[in-house]
Symmetry: C2
Subunit: 218 residues, 2 copies
């Protein structure tokens, strides 16, 4: 499968625009642990992830890292082409967390098509809004964090009750327990999983790092 | 002056699209202290600010508020029409901090034009990227805050040195003092001003709330 299968608005593009994107795209296999993009130092192009896992994070002057979000199969990374949007005035670092296969679409070409193509511009807006939403979620956690602490506490308590690290419980059920929506629970559990505290299976949650979960519970 | 003077890409729109936006726009004078938009409860439309000042903030379940950014003359507010972009999955509150004159462009009409118009879609992307940048700046402050503390300390020390609340010092000079760029200083001083800690004048900075600046200095 080519690039066309990974850009959902492909069929809305003109033949000319499809060709321009295809000609500007190179396929790359990037080994785990590679820093693909580093702040404003480069502007390599838009990444379309075919497989693998990328992490986007910010770094303080003192080297403290904070993960903003992860990019998985079919995600698009715009910030590696941040120079094409003058309004992007912040810097993120992007690295591969797993061996990854990506298409790299050269910045100028992507930008040229976006300027003239309403479908690509609208799609890019949606991608940007998605990332923005992820960062806002994180911001909310950082500012008001309470639900994560509550969920961590809940998991630890259930584990004590069952005397087992693996809880056979659905997200729906946890949501009911905690008086919140299922999707809120799912999102937080995925975050816990990414942070290595739990492992999610069909219909279950396993605590894999009790100390970290304890710390989260406060 | 009409809406055309406040949307920089107006001339790039087709006559049809211009007409569609104009017909969907109503002019409103909104008194200070009005909550224009409140989370996902409404989706009134895109706001184009003619004059005044709006504040966008998030609120915790416990009622704690955190200001994300401010909107001034010629700014565009997209989040009051967040429902038009399914990827926006967060909620902000927007209120007028001063009496404000705005155009309100009905959500469906704006969205319809954006879907077919590359110039409006690209412009909307830039607006979104601007807000994203402001939030990332705030995030950086929240996570790694040190420069603000350093700047607050610097201003208090200078004030002690001069034995005066008003410092006659340029942003350039402060930047040199602190080993950073002038624009970094300007941005932070504006933030301090918005927070009511200092007041900025041509070539000077006046401390107006010493207690708050002290707290910032840590």
């Amino acid at each position: 499968m080519g690039l066309d299968a990974y850009l959902p608005i492909w069929k809305q593009l003109t033949k000319e625009d499809q060709q321009a994107l295809e000609e500007a795209a190179v396929f790359r296999s990037v080994p785990k642990g590679t820093i693909i993009h580093n702040g404003s130092a480069d502007c390599i192009g838009v990444l379309v992830i075919k497989s693998g896992q990328l992490r986007s994070y910010i770094v303080s002057d003192e080297g403290k890292e904070v993960t903003l979000y992860r990019l998985l199969e079919r995600d698009i990374c715009l910030f590696s082409a941040a120079c094409m949007m003058s309004s992007i005035r912040f810097e993120v670092t992007i690295e591969t967390e797993k061996d990854s296969d990506v298409w790299l679409i050269q910045t100028e070409a992507y930008h040229a098509v976006m300027e003239r193509s309403a479908p690509l511009a609208n799609y890019t807006c949606q991608v940007l809004a998605s990332r923005f939403s992820e960062v806002m979620w994180l911001m909310d956690q950082l500012l008001f964090k309470r639900f994560d602490a509550r969920l961590a506490t809940f998991l630890l308590e259930e584990s004590t009750i069952e005397d087992c690290d693996t809880l056979e419980i659905t997200h729906e059920k946890i949501a009911n327990h905690m008086g919140t929506a299922r999707e809120v629970v799912t999102r937080m559990l995925k975050y816990f999983q990414e942070e290595g505290m739990v492992s999610l299976t069909r219909g279950g949650v396993t605590i894999v790092n009790r100390a970290k979960l304890d710390a989260k519970a406060g």
